[in-house]
Amino acid sequence: MKLVIIDYGAGNIQSIQFAFQRLGVDAVLTHDKEEIMKADKVIFPGVGEASSAMQKLCESGLDKIIPDLKQPVLGICLGMQLMCNSSEEGDTKGLGIFDTEVVKFKSPQPLKGGLKVPQIGWNEIKNLKTDLFHGVSENDYIYLVHSYYAPICNETIAVANYGLDYSAALAKDNFYGVQFHPEKSSKVGARILDNFLRM
C-alpha cells in the first residue's frame, strides 16, 4: 500500500509520519501531484494559519487536484478546515469539499464558563459515525489544539463540545477530516489512523 502525506510547507508532518511508522507503514512525504494522485491513501495535514496555508496550496496547484482525488483522503486539523468552503481565519476560501464554513471560537462570550481560546488539550468525542471510529468508544478522549471550528453539519461524523457542540470530524464520499490530532492522541488516535489505513 502506498500512503502519501501531502507536504506543502504547513504542518508537523514528522509526527504524522512517525505515527504511521508505529503502525508499521512507511508514509511518503511529497508535493508531487503525480505521486499524490497515484497513492492508495492520502493524508492532508496542516498546522498554522489558514489563509497562508491556502495560499501555499494555490501556488503549488494542489488546490486543483485534492478535491478530485478518488482514493481515501484524511485531512488533519488545519487540513480538515481547508477542506471546508471557507475559513474566518484570514478570511480565506477553502477547497469546498465539506459544505460548511470554519469560524472562530468567540471568547469570552458566547462561550460559557470563561473557556479559553485556543482550546488546547484532551476532549471527548461523541455521536461517532463511519468506520473511521471502529473500535473507538463514545466519549473517548482525543487531543486538540485549535481556535477555529467547523459547526455541526450534514457531514459531521463526530462531535466535540467546547462551549458549544461542533464537528470533531467530517466525512463526504472518500474524504475524511478530523479536527483533532490522531498522531498525538495515544491509543485512540492510533486506532483511528489504523482504521483509515483499512478504508
Binding site: 514528522q14 469570552p108 488546547i120 488539550g121
Partner: protein, 251 residues
C-alpha cells in the same frame, strides 16, 4: 468536556534527564525517551522537556533528542530551555516537537513572540514565566530563576497574550521544590486576567495539591517533576483521585 492536563516535566542536560531542586543540585533521573514513553503509557497528557545544558553542542543534541522522542511518544510534547531564535524553533518543530516554550529570550526581545506566532502559529508558542513574590509583588526572573527583573508577572502575562502566545507556563519560585502546593492565588489571578490556558508549575507534593490548583488556582494544566520522577505520585492514581473529586481528567 475539556480535561485538565497532567504534565510531567523532564529536565534535560546533555541528553539525559535530571531534576533541579530550587533550580540547583541536579540528580540524574534517566533516559528522556524511555521516561517519556513510560509517562505516556501511565496516562500523562503531555510532556515538557526543559533543556538546561549550556554546551556548544546543545542545539544539535536537543534537536536529535526531539526527533527520537517524536518517534516513540504518542502524546504531545513541548521543548524549552535557551531557545532564542526563529531558526531554533523551526528546527525543533520540524523534528517533531508540538510546541516550544520561550522564557528569557522573550523578556529580552518581546518581538520574538510576535515573530514566532506569525511564522508558526499561536498554538505552538508557550511563554514560560518564572516569578518570585517579593514584598507582595510578583517579579519575573530570568535564566532559570537566577536573574531578577523589574517586570511584574501580571503585566508581562497580559503582554505575552497580546503578542499572541498560545499558553503560559507559570513557575512560582517561592513554591518550586517546596512540595507545599502550587501558587494558587497568583494562578487564579492570572487565569482571570488572560484568556489563554495557564499551566501551573512549582510546588506539587501530594495529590490534593493538584486538585487545589485546578479548583482554587483555576489552572488548565499542572506540571510537576520530582513527585513523578521519584515515584511519590503515580499518574494513574492521581487521575483516579482527581476524577473522584469531580475534576475532568482523561483516564
Amino acid at each position: 468536556m475539556l480535561a485538565k492536563r497532567i504534565i510531567p516535566c523532564l529536565d534535560i542536560k546533555d541528553g539525559r534527564t535530571v531534576k533541579g531542586v530550587n533550580f540547583v543540585n541536579l540528580r540524574d533521573a534517566g533516559d528522556p525517551v524511555e521516561l517519556g514513553q513510560f509517562y505516556a503509557e501511565q496516562g500523562a497528557d503531555e510532556l515538557v522537556f526543559l533543556d538546561i545544558s549550556a554546551t556548544e553542542e546543545k542545539r544539535r543534541t536537543l534537536a536529535e533528542l526531539v526527533y527520537h522522542v517524536a518517534e516513540k511518544v504518542d502524546i504531545p510534547f513541548t521543548v524549552g530551555g535557551g531557545i532564542s531564535s526563529v531558526d531554533d524553533v523551526g528546527m525543533l518543530l520540524k523534528n517533531g516537537a508540538d510546541k516550544v516554550s520561550i522564557n528569557s529570550s522573550a523578556v529580552k526581545n518581546p518581538d520574538l513572540i510576535n515573530e514566532l506566532v506569525a511564522k508558526f502559529g499561536s498554538q505552538c508558542i508557550v511563554v514560560a514565566i518564572d516569578a518570585k513574590q517579593i514584598g507582595g509583588e510578583w517579579k519575573v526572573h530570568l535564566v532559570g530563576g537566577k536573574v531578577p527583573t523589574d517586570l511584574d508577572l501580571f503585566e508581562w502575562a497580559k503582554e505575552v497574550e497580546k503578542r499572541g502566545a498560545g499558553e503560559i507556563l507559570f513557575t512560582s519560585m517561592n513554591h518550586d521544590g517546596t512540595k507545599n502546593g502550587f501558587a494558587n492565588e497568583a494562578l487564579a489571578k492570572l487565569s482571570d486576567l488572560v484568556n489563554i490556558p495557564i499551566i501551573a508549575s512549582g510546588g506539587a507534593g501530594n495529590m490534593k495539591h493538584f486538585a487545589d490548583t485546578f479548583i482554587d488556582g483555576k489552572a488548565d494544566a499542572a506540571l510537576a517533576a520530582s513527585v513523578f520522577h521519584f515515584k511519590e505520585i503515580a499518574i494513574k492514581d492521581l487521575k483516579k483521585e482527581l476524577k473522584q473529586r469531580g475534576i475532568p481528567v482523561r483516564i
